[in-house]
Symmetry: C2
Subunit: 208 residues, 2 copies
């Protein structure tokens, strides 16, 4: 090939390299995006890159729940109409956004910032679990409050949930987890047997 | 929704806005990418954005063929082992890379930088057609040289090819276009009738 590393220019090669480091973006898509950016006015490209730099450099996290926020205390934690004694524990910022999108949750959150995973080298001290236990300890009358463990159903999620459970059970706070079962509209025929089995075990009183 | 425009932070919202301006990237993917970048070390993110800024600000184009290049004359144009009298006219940098990847072309290129499209407001003067006609005019003995019109087979491509043909036919240069027909390994049953029809019209002597 006449090109060094198959690219006609080192600048292009480096940009493709950088763009393809994004998750789910292969080298072909990265090339397409790089050539797209090259065709845009310089101002647009600088706006694009500075929006990303700004996000990385200036983002703040809520002091209470570790959610991304523009203020010290996020809009959810500072909303007095929300139930501040129901704390939904989630892995990531995205999970908060997913739950908020349902419009059915009126408590507050606690963002762990990850999940316990020995393979990925993430231990309890890398997450905001200590902050959670302190938050629970500071609650008046914890027995009347609730922590919802809204973590994923895989091994890491269950490990993290169990770890947190052990940390806060002594407080006497009510600890719940998300209901698991068939999705709404799901066909029995296509459900995996584990989900179907748990759906049976956790069956509920039929309320028409 | 408690979030302004559904995002917990204006910085995040702006970054998602910027990322989703890329072609083929929706708002959901943009959010995923923004949150990914947020989790990376600041140095990696700055490297990412500066690679893109560098590309946009410092890229050069070959003075002869308008290909992206780090030098004034690109590595293909300055390669004396290539046939400098066969000029393959393509729409974009990407097309050059596609043809180079075949390893079967040993001439040089001319990158138009687009295609004539009245709908998109792109006319002949927006492309490097004038540079191409000058290049052809400067050739010694143009009758022994060749211009290959390697443009797409749609209306814009055919219009552009025809326009270029009219600009350079007087020079007496040989003007060819890419063979069109069934792809290798294509099934007759699934070919569109236009392609199949042209494949029949342009049939070739069978050489086993």
């Amino acid at each position: 090939m006449p090109y060094k590393e198959n690219y006609p220019s080192a600048l292009l090669s480096e940009a493709v390299e950088a763009i393809s480091s994004l998750p789910g973006v292969g080298r072909r898509s990265a090339l397409r995006l790089a050539l797209h950016l090259l065709k845009q006015p310089a101002g647009n490209v600088h706006h694009f890159t500075s929006a990303i730099n700004d996000l990385r450099d200036n983002v703040c996290y809520c002091k209470r729940c570790r959610m991304i926020s523009d203020e010290e205390i996020c809009s959810i934690c500072s909303d007095r109409s929300r139930d501040q004694r129901t704390i939904c524990v989630v892995e990531s910022v995205r999970d908060v956004m997913s739950i908020e999108a349902t419009g059915q949750y009126h408590g507050v959150y606690h963002v762990l910032g990850g999940i316990i995973s020995p393979i990925a080298g993430v231990g309890p001290s890398d997450l905001s679990i200590k902050e959670l236990t302190e938050r629970v300890t500071r609650l008046e009358d914890p027995a009347g409050a609730e922590v919802i463990l809204a973590l994923s159903g895989d091994v890491e999620g269950e490990t993290t949930a169990f770890y947190i459970y052990r940390q806060i059970e002594a407080s006497g706070i009510r600890i719940t987890s998300l209901a698991r079962g068939l999705g709404f509209g799901d066909d029995l025929e296509y459900a995996d047997s584990l989900t179907l089995g748990r759906s049976l075990t956790n069956r509920q009183i039929f309320k028409p």
